[in-house]
Symmetry: C2
Subunit: 400 residues, 2 copies
């Protein structure tokens, strides 16, 4: 097998941790696999370098930031290669450039454009474990670029895709993907498998194991992704194609997103173009609108509701103040969004019904509802958030 | 003017120090110069990284060490570029590779083979101050290489040579080159100018301002080198071609080398090949033999004396024990070497005579003497070392 393993900052946070990682990597090699490892900077390093840069400038040049920030991963990759070599496992460290990773020119948030698979293959064919500095590549002009937060995951997935690896393991300090946040529902179970689309919904809903970008790329490149912990030997969660999951559960997980605020416009003139004007304004101000609901109105006006991230509420207010499209605008940040995610919904009716029933039994009022093929999201009052998660978790028998 | 400025580890040891360096660099630019800056890693960083590597291995792979160690200079160069940009001075950071520095393949002690001057010129022509990460380049295989201790000085001198800079300023925490160590003779004067050859003699004799390799390269590439302090605005010392120094002083400086031990072989068979055998053995054991003196002997034998660095005395002893070339071998580490350096000696007689007179007046016995065109070295008992330096300093009127 060809395996890509990616270790995040806490997994390589100390020299002792790097030693543990070296043991895990060497085991994969000793088991007969070809192994590529992608590493992050030691935890705290990137933030330290950012604070250094901010000492000099609130807006440091993105190009210089990339040269600065890329150094952390280079250090970790060299150290891991040295550790492996000293254990008798031949190993080479490669920078993003040496690994053939080309990106676009948007420094500090570059996107990978291509990977020259020959660069890594050459070292693998020489019998080496290949350690790649994550989070980085080079632009067409041969300038160092970085991929933004979570960039090392992207490096790993992109490399796994380019080299058609059998598996891409993302190691963090979390065991895998759970049916819901175990801090809210201790009965939450770790999922063995989950589809890309479900993971995407859960990731965007605040399950922080993997970033949306990485899952999107894994889906696009058809990479079998496993998220697991580097602090124990538990099996993780496999994120894969829907077809690879034999028994599709009705519901895979329940997510709670507390970073939500609701905006309600009452008495919006009910004519074409008004909604477009409102949401164009919000888009121009870089506000991430999530749910949008428009009710049929009377007397030629309508009520329009939408949600935005709570931390974007202030800018939303100033944005809305420049638009004169409604009688009144109301803001409510005392809400949360509870979501039910599962590919099984596609082929089963009654999933939504169960949710509504469950919440009404606990006297929880639904303030907004929005559905997609594999997701039902409901906005409710903040105080009911955890209760709703536990009730839904039980209703769909996720603790079984 | 095109100026290369190189700042060592203590000069960029903290964010505040980097800010000071940025001010100095910006002044050179504001004065109308084109400016290239070469930086070392922040002081302590390289040693920290070495200790990290040694946690894993006593013999880390040189290739991986170079990837590891090169990161420190990259950090400093990015930070300085960010600082300068925030002050309104356009600036780009370049790695050794980006600056076009090609080296041979000997990792951790690579030698610069060529510099593609177009790389830096392109950025200079764009109006930028160019900040180059010192101490590093890339091999023919495009692997990161480092130049060994003092490597950033070499980067600076090589760049100054390749781009035909008018001046190469090496900033440290020392004001320049002194007529002798001011801790021994407080009347020591800073030299305004000194020739490459004199500096080479002084450097190899333990005046630690500049390493021999850098001065040799400056001589070869005809680079005007200035060594000065980044902690004050004092003028430094210009190291240049002999022809550029109008008034050649008789003697430029007095050096004291305490790291010396003497080996004396008595009763060496006086036939061809014996000395060769001895020094071949020492060379094979990587022992740096300095002065060698052979006295005419009698009864077909001779006495052979030489000096080695004191910290190589133990290995010298074991080396000599494997050779059976003399009746007895004596070791004496209780000696020092005092040297008088000056290009004026070439055209003036009597310099040596003054030295011998001066020392004899203080009752100091000369145990070995060796001379070159611009240097007289004398081995004396350790206890007289400082006294001899002060006496010679006065005798050649270096305090005037």
């Amino acid at each position: 097998m060809l395996v890509v393993q990616k270790y995040g900052g806490t997994s390589v946070g100390t020299l002792e941790r790097i030693e543990e990682v070296a043991k895990r990597v060497s085991k994969a090699k000793a088991d007969g696999n070809d192994v590529i490892v992608v590493v992050s900077a030691m935890s705290g390093e990137t933030n330290k370098l950012i604070s250094y840069a901010e000492h000099f400038s609130k807006n440091p040049q993105p190009r210089e930031m990339d040269m600065l920030l890329s150094s952390g991963e280079r250090v970790t990759s060299s150290l891991l290669a040295i550790a492996l070599n000293s254990m008798g496992f031949r190993s080479v460290a490669m920078s993003g450039r040496q690994a053939g990773i080309k990106t676009d020119k948007f420094h500090t948030k570059a996107r990978i454009e291509s990977i020259d698979r020959l660069c890594i293959e050459k070292e693998l064919n020489g019998g080496n474990i290949v350690i790649v500095a994550g989070f980085q590549g080079v632009t067409e002009l041969d300038e160092v670029s970085t991929l933004g937060r979570g960039g090392s995951d992207l490096s790993a997935v992109a490399i796994a895709g380019a080299l058609e690896a059998d598996l891409c393991e993302i190691y963090t300090d979390v065991d895998g993907v759970y049916t819901t946040d175990p801090r809210i529902e201790p009965k939450a179970k770790k999922l063995e498998k989950i589809s890309y689309d479900e993971m995407l919904e859960l990731a965007s809903l605040g399950a922080k194991v993997l970033q949306t970008r990485s899952v999107e790329m894994a889906k696009k490149l058809n990479v079998n992704l496993v998220t697991r912990s580097s602090f124990n030997n538990n099996e993780g969660t496999l994120i894969t194609k829907e077809e690879n999951i034999m028994e599709q559960p009705l519901v895979s997980g329940i997510a709670l997103d507390k970073n939500q605020a609701r905006v309600t416009l009452r008495g919006v003139t009910d004519k074409p173009g008004i909604a477009a004007e409102i949401f164009r304004k919000l888009a121009n101000d870089n506000i991430n609108v999530d749910m949008i609901i428009q009710n049929v109105g009377h007397d030629g006006t309508t009520n329009l509701g939408f949600t935005v991230p709570e931390n974007e509420l202030e800018i939303t207010k100033s944005s809305m103040s420049e638009i004169n499209a409604s009688r009144t605008v109301e803001y409510d940040s005392d809400i949360v969004k509870v979501s039910i995610v599962g590919v099984g919904m596609k082929s089963h009716s009654g999933v939504a019904c169960t949710a509504f029933d469950t919440l009404s039994k606990d006297g929880i009022n639904l303030e907004m509802i929005s559905t997609s093929e594999i997701k039902i999201s409901m906005v409710i009052a903040s105080k009911y958030g955890e209760l709703a998660v536990r009730a839904l978790h039980a209703a769909y028998e996720l603790d079984k």
